[in-house]
């Protein structure tokens, strides 16, 4: 008898497609909320995206009570406190996060403070500290990548102490994630590419990792197919609303997959590179993905090979002998990266970033070993292994 075991959990209601934003007032009402606070950043507001949300509230009998649009790229303790103060002053009863990873994490922090009636966020840091549901919390992602709209974690930095505080709780999951093509339509090509490759990496690492399971596999493969098909479409025609929505859905599906099946070495290395050289997360994912897959290939070639169907389609899959599919899948990803490099200047190697020197690699390898995701990589990684991958990625 097989001794396999897994858990799968995703209670987030997904509201997706045409006129999705217009469903928000109804969904708030269902949760007995009527005074939402919008949390966003200057970039999102400047791009006019909040106007779409506000338009959805018109003629709904409900108003947005206030808009906080000053979330910085790195969510911090101070900002969380600031927003919680606004929430209380304006007597809001729900939060709508409109943005990318930082806005969403910040909003999760705000929700902890206003729901627990706290002032010191650090009291709630850690795993399972929260014991009861928080205020109604909606997320409208404006980058199709992080998947934070379906994850139960938030990381908020405390610059004074120089630490990043992790928060993990089922209660951090939003009640509703709204996917509406209008919200990602104007995302610039290079950001679209980076965030899509982050989502691609979530799906691939979830599918090939130690904690894979049949339910998240279904989300992962579907996400991979959507990204492989629609990222080129969006780059060819940035205002292709259908393709944009496909990418947004893929990102959420990849988020559901990895929040249940975790990520692996691409993320261990990527988190370290991001921290050391301040490079965007999606860029780091795009950079390391093929090198890590090649590292995992000897032991995990069959599972990686299954992904060829979703990456390249039925014809290529059928015409590739079974034992070559893993290698071919990596080649498809390499081709994809060449294309992204050509179109959006996304670096494919560490040297192409121009942000790191070769003598920093041992430090980077050490940092990667201490990253929690490395334990879920399907193949064991020691310091020499990590360094070897970094050297190949040089």
């Amino acid at each position: 008898m097989s001794k396999s075991y897994y858990e799968f959990f995703c209670p987030v209601k997904v509201v997706a497609g045409s006129a999705a934003l217009e469903h928000i007032p109804y969904e708030l009402n269902t949760l007995s909320a009527s005074r939402p606070l919008i949390v966003t950043d200057k970039g999102v507001r400047g791009a006019g995206l909040i106007d779409h949300v506000l338009a959805a509230f018109a003629e709904s009998g409900m108003d947005v009570i206030d808009i906080y649009d000053d979330v910085p790229p790195d969510s911090s303790l101070k900002v969380v406190k600031d927003i919680a103060r606004v929430y209380r002053e304006k007597q809001c009863d729900s939060i709508i996060a409109v943005g990318g990873g930082s806005v969403i994490d910040t909003s999760k922090g705000v929700n902890i403070l206003v729901s627990e009636n706290g002032n010191d966020l650090s009291e709630f840091s850690g795993v399972g500290v929260l014991k009861k549901p928080l205020k109604p919390f909606f997320v409208i992602p404006t980058t199709a990548g992080t998947g934070s709209e379906v994850t139960m974690v938030a990381v908020i930095s405390d610059p004074d102490k120089g630490v990043k505080m992790p928060f993990t709780s089922y209660f951090l999951l939003p009640n509703v994630a709204i996917l509406d093509a209008r919200m990602t339509l104007t995302l610039p090509p290079h950001i679209t590419a980076m965030t899509a490759m982050d989502a691609m990496t979530h799906a691939i690492e979830a599918y090939t990792g130690m904690a894979k399971n049949p339910i998240s596999d279904a989300y992962a493969t579907s996400a991979i197919r959507k990204i492989a098909e629609n990222l080129p479409r969006v780059l060819n025609k940035p205002d292709d609303a259908d393709a944009r929505l496909e990418l947004a859905q893929a990102s959420t599906m990849a988020g559901i997959a990895f929040s249940n099946s975790m990520v692996g070495l691409v993320h261990s290395l990527g988190h370290s590179l991001g921290a050391l050289c301040h490079l965007p997360h999606g860029l780091c994912m795009n950079l390391f993905l093929p090198y890590v897959l090649e590292y995992n290939l000897p032991e995990r070639g069959d599972v990686i090979g299954e992904l060829l169907l979703y990456l390249a389609g039925a014809d290529v899959y059928a015409h590739t002998p079974a034992h070559e599919r893993g290698k071919k899948a990596v080649q498809v990803i390499r081709d994809m990266r060449d294309e992204l490099n050509h179109r959006c200047k996304l670096p494919r190697t560490l040297s192409e970033t121009g942000k790191i020197t070769r003598d920093q690699l041992p430090k980077l390898a050490q940092m990667a070993l201490d990253d929690g995701s490395i334990i879920f990589n399907p193949v064991e990684v020691d310091l020499d292994d990590a360094l070897a991958v970094l050297n190949r990625a040089w």
């Binding site: 858990e7 904690a211 490395i374 879920f376 064991e380």
Partner: protein, 176 residues
Amino acid sequence: MMQAKRVRVNPFKRPYVVLMMEVIGRSLEAASQVDERIQNEVRPLPDGLMFEMKVMPDGPALVLQKTGATGLKYLGRRPPRKPDVVMKFKHVTHAFLVFSFQEATARAFANDRILLDGEIAYAMKLVRCLNRMESLILPKIIAERALKRYPNLSLPEKMLGGARIYTQVAKNLIRG
């Protein structure tokens, strides 16, 4: 009120986990005194860092503390204060699966059987110490079940004092 039915449980499970907690605690202490790799993992940890591995809700458990530059000291079953890093098995059966080498430590993490509390980077170093210790004192055939990959190593003969006990317990168990 209806009384929950008495059910039969494996009577050796809990005592075995209690024993293994102590064996692991003492083996890690001993290993940190002789093995350079483990010392290299311990060195960057903050002074006095306290680590607890326990079974929910209230034990069995083991507590280790960093002492000196590279040492781990076995403090017994009860932490004298709130530990800095805690690795919690959700049920005694899950600890039994790991300690009887039916489930690798990494697999137990992947299977959501273990909760980690505290700084992840420190926890990762401690997990590596655990893996290294197991690779040293367990017979290869058993260590291969406990680890994702069995390392290439020349087994130093006069290994830790606890090695023989540990091996014997494991052998007995696998034989059923």
